[in-house]
């Protein structure tokens, strides 16, 4: 456990905790109006004492928008990735471990999903189900599932061919136990790495949906929506993109460092 509080583990843990804290607490402490209050006289203002992250094209304070947008972004991305793991993990493990016709059927299904661009898929789902928070999560979650299932299948296939799995089979181990004790722990590192990367992409995917009017609805703030909105003002007010962009980058960095540390902590080989 001590390794969580050393070096990159410490940085990662601090960032992840800070982001979570902001996401949970900010909406409770800061009134919504702080983020939606327009001020046409202070449009696209750079960082000042009054608005120290600057303002957007409608004169709304970027600091409050980033802080209040955290909850939407983190919740949608987190829930979507969780959902893709919940669906993708069993799919991938069953495919990789059992192989044969079951693998063929499941993987052709996954390939079909893969052949649609993830965003287009999410768009279709979102359009069919209607634009609201839950449906956005479902859309992104489903769109991300095939990538995860593919990666997990590959890993499960690799692990299933290891001699220790064969040894366990020769010792009469049942399939359920085999998956739980032998396959799952050994594919965990791949799952952790892939999920932290997926989280970053999910934040951006939410932005894409919001831009098309299917994700977060204005005037609500989300990081992705803010990045999308900034595209017309990049030359005159680059901070409108940099502020939410930095928030995404920080979160992803924190998650990566945290994920790396988590992987190391779970691996008995790094224990001294």
């Amino acid at each position: 456990m001590r390794r969580f509080f050393k070096g990159k583990g410490l940085i990662g843990t601090v960032i992840v905790l800070a982001v979570l804290l902001v996401a949970v607490l900010a909406p409770l402490v800061i009134p919504d109006s702080f983020a939606t209050q327009m001020n046409m006289r202070a449009r696209l203002s750079g960082p000042t004492w009054e608005h120290f992250f600057g303002t957007d094209q409608l004169g709304r304070d970027l600091f409050y928008r980033v802080v209040l947008g955290a909850q939407t972004s983190i919740m949608i991305a987190g829930a979507a990735v969780l959902m893709s793991i919940v669906i993708g993990l069993p799919l991938g493990i069953v495919s990789g471990y059992f192989g044969g016709w079951i693998d063929n059927v499941l993987m052709r299904l996954v390939d079909t999903l893969l052949s649609f661009p993830a965003l287009l898929l999410a768009l279709t789902i979102s359009a069919v189900l209607g634009p609201n928070l839950t449906n956005t999560i479902i859309a992104i979650g489903v769109a991300f599932t095939p990538f995860l299932a593919r990666i997990i299948r590959g890993e499960a296939l690799r692990v299933a061919q290891m001699p220790y799995v064969e040894a366990a089979r020769a010792a009469g181990t049942t399939d359920a136990w085999m998956i739980l004790r032998h396959i799952l722990p050994n594919i965990m590192p791949a799952i952790i790495v892939q999920s932290t990367i997926s989280l970053a992409f999910a934040i951006l995917a939410e932005a894409g949906l919001s831009f098309l009017g299917l994700g977060t609805q204005p005037p609500e703030a989300s990081w992705g929506l803010m990045i999308q909105a900034s595209r017309d003002y990049l030359d005159v007010a680059p901070w409108t993109a940099l502020v939410p962009g930095a928030a995404v980058a920080m979160t992803v960095l924190g998650l990566n460092l945290f994920g790396d540390t988590l992987r190391d902590v779970l691996d008995p080989r790094t224990e001294t």
Binding site: P163, E166, A170
Partner: protein, 601 residues
């Protein structure tokens, strides 16, 4: 005579600060022209680090030469490799110093032709034109005795066999006429017949060119075959150095003595009635032989076992051909005895073992264990039958789950069958640790905290957990250092005499097989070509393949060397046959009722 290379007080470290590990401590020796110096030692002895330092390749692996001089006598005068700059080193590598690596499968680039790989060095170091380099490449292929050299030039590595590839690697190393050839375990990954050929080839090239050879190996038998002088290393230090005859006949260092005692030598069991443990340095009592019972009782009867693997091909991945991995194999293994399946890679010995356990599905045949047929057992019966037969695998690093504690891995078979639980389970696991001579506090450890030999003991403990009658040991000691190998072999033999276990011992190592077996079956191309009591097969081999195998095995005795002209092994034909191919049944000629030899058609 001035030596080609002189290593003087070499020290190499890895890591920095408190984590610094000294891999090589104060190593000095020299190699004269036309001399082969074998650097021998077990894993972690620093032998490879020494050779990589000579190429200054050690820096790429994070090592650092902290002290010492590595003097190479070039045409232009002596040069200290330890302090040479990187451009001087680039000129040296592949020119003055050639190197051969262990794995012929990966030391050639799969996307370039043989010609391209052979001529690269010539163009860079000798600034040869295309045609001139091509002529030289052809000459080199003839020098390493590759048949049809003109065609080989246009081929890619995957089109050649392992032995052929290693010849190409040697040709590349020889391309610029190096003064020093470094060979790092060049035959470890090869079959014995190919090993014999490669050793003889390196010997001849050394004689013809007068280069110095630094040969790194862990195998004392290979040392006896090729060395002029021997440097024995242990934990980064030279413990003994001397001419090869003296090292074998009159070793001084305690480590050399224990190393030599641990090497099984082909032929040393002659005249002995039964397998017996190796006598290691420090053993007080004489090892007792494992005499078979007077009235042997069969445990495992394998009849006409055949296993084919489908070859898929074409755009629809249809079943187009079969790999005939195991072809009409029959044998009987008695209770409390060891039967060895011996042969080279691809002969079907592993597939045979796995078919018996049904880890792969046999195509036909019967396997009777006790009174039940394993081949047509339903899943429930199979699971019960597997309680009586367990397997030990080759790779001690891959056969244990890195994420599970050792106690849990040993306990797993017991849990699976519900044979023990609670404190009873813990007691049983603890006694299994005692049985394989591992301290009980290892129970809470993870596999990575153990050495290769200790892991193999865990694998044995796991196999013993269900008190099986039969253990299939698939190359169980092949990946271990010799001293560890000897200990594990002795442990297995001790377990056999104490518990009355039967072993199906699968190995490529003739000397080890001679040591442990009651009966021996030699496999070739999926078939048993010769089977019989160990004394008969080793003392009176009848099948031409058995004879070839015996001749190829290097013997840990420098006075019994083989030479290139004595060797002419035929390559093994492909075991892949079209679907319509009907294999002939195996028919045997009886030399004695027990000793049988395959009919040669």
């Amino acid at each position: 005579m001035t030596p080609i290379v002189r290593i003087d007080r070499l020290r190499v470290t890895f890591g920095s600060g408190a984590d610094t590990v000294e891999a090589v401590k104060d190593v000095s020796f020299e190699i004269a022209p036309g001399e082969t110096v074998c650097v021998v030692g077990e894993s972690g002895s620093g032998k490879s680090v020494t050779s990589l330092s000579l190429m200054r390749l050690v820096e790429f692996d994070g090592g650092q030469i902290v002290d010492g001089r590595l003097t190479l006598n070039c045409e232009t005068g002596p040069l200290d490799i330890a302090t040479a700059d990187s451009s001087a080193m680039r000129d040296l590598r592949g020119d003055e110093i050639g190197m051969i690596f262990q794995e012929p499968m990966t030391s050639l680039n799969p996307v370039f032709t043989i010609e391209r790989q052979l001529t690269d060095g010539l163009r860079v170091h000798r600034r040869m034109s295309g045609p001139a380099a091509r002529d030289r490449a052809l000459e080199l292929l003839k020098e390493v005795r590759i048949p049809e050299p003109e065609q080989r030039l246009q081929q890619y590595p995957h089109e050649l066999s392992g032995g052929m590839r290693q010849r190409i690697v040697i040709a590349i190393a020889m391309a610029c006429r190096p003064r020093l050839l470094i060979a790092d375990e060049p035959t470890t990954a090869l079959d014995v017949t190919i090993q014999a050929e490669i050793l003889a080839l390196i010997n001849r090239l050394k004689r013809e060119t007068g280069m110095a050879v630094m040969f790194i190996t862990h195998d004392m038998a290979v040392v006896a075959q090729i060395a002029d002088r021997v440097v024995v290393m242990y934990r980064g230090e030279v413990v003994e150095e001397g001419p090869v005859d003296q090292i074998f006949s009159d070793p001084h260092a305690a480590y050399t003595k224990s190393l030599l005692a641990a090497v099984p030598r082909l032929g040393e069991m002659r005249g002995k009635p039964a397998p017996e443990p190796l006598r290691l340095v420090g053993d007080i009592v004489d090892p007792k032989p494992l005499l078979p019972k007077a009235d042997p009782e069969p445990l495992l009867q394998v009849s006409n076992l055949t296993t084919y693997f489908p070859v898929k091909g074409g755009p629809l991945r249809r079943h187009v051909a079969n790999v005939h991995a195991v072809e009409d194999v029959s044998f009987t293994l008695n209770k409390g005895e060891t039967l060895s399946l011996v042969g080279e890679s691809g002969c079907g010995k592993s597939s045979c073992g796995r078919s018996i356990l049904r880890l792969v599905e046999p195509t036909s045949g019967t396997v009777i264990l006790g009174h039940q047929n394993v081949v047509d057992a339903n899943p429930r019966d199979l699971r019960r039958l597997r309680r009586q037969m367990q397997m030990i695998f080759q790779d001690p690093f891959a056969s244990l789950n890195p994420y599970m504690r050792l106690a849990a891995q040993v306990a797993e078979p017991l849990k699976n069958f519900g044979s023990a639980s609670g404190t009873d389970l813990i007691d049983k696991v603890a006694s299994l640790f005692d049985r394989v001579e591992l301290p009980r506090d290892y129970m809470r450890r993870f596999p990575h905290q153990l050495s290769g030999g200790q892991r193999q003991r865990i694998a044995i403990a796991r196999a013993l957990a269900l008190s099986p009658k039969l253990i299939i040991a698939d190359e169980a000691v092949s990946a271990l250092d010799v001293s560890v190998q000897a200990q594990v072999l002795n442990l297995m033999m001790e377990l056999q005499s104490d518990l009355g276990l039967s072993f199906l011992f699968i190995s490529h190592d003739m000397a080890v097989v001679e040591r442990v077996s009651h009966h021996v079956a030699v496999m070739y191309q999926g078939r048993i070509v010769e089977i019989g009591p160990r004394a008969a097969v080793f003392g009176d081999p009848r099948h031409p393949y058995t004879k070839a195998l015996m001749r190829a095995v290097p013997i840990a005795d420098p006075s019994r060397r083989t030479f290139e002209d004595d060797l002419d092994f035929k390559p093994i034909p492909s075991p892949i046959h079209p679907l319509t191919f009907a294999a002939q049944p195996s028919q045997y000629e009886e030399i004695t009722p027990e000793h049988k030899v395959l009919h040669i058609s």
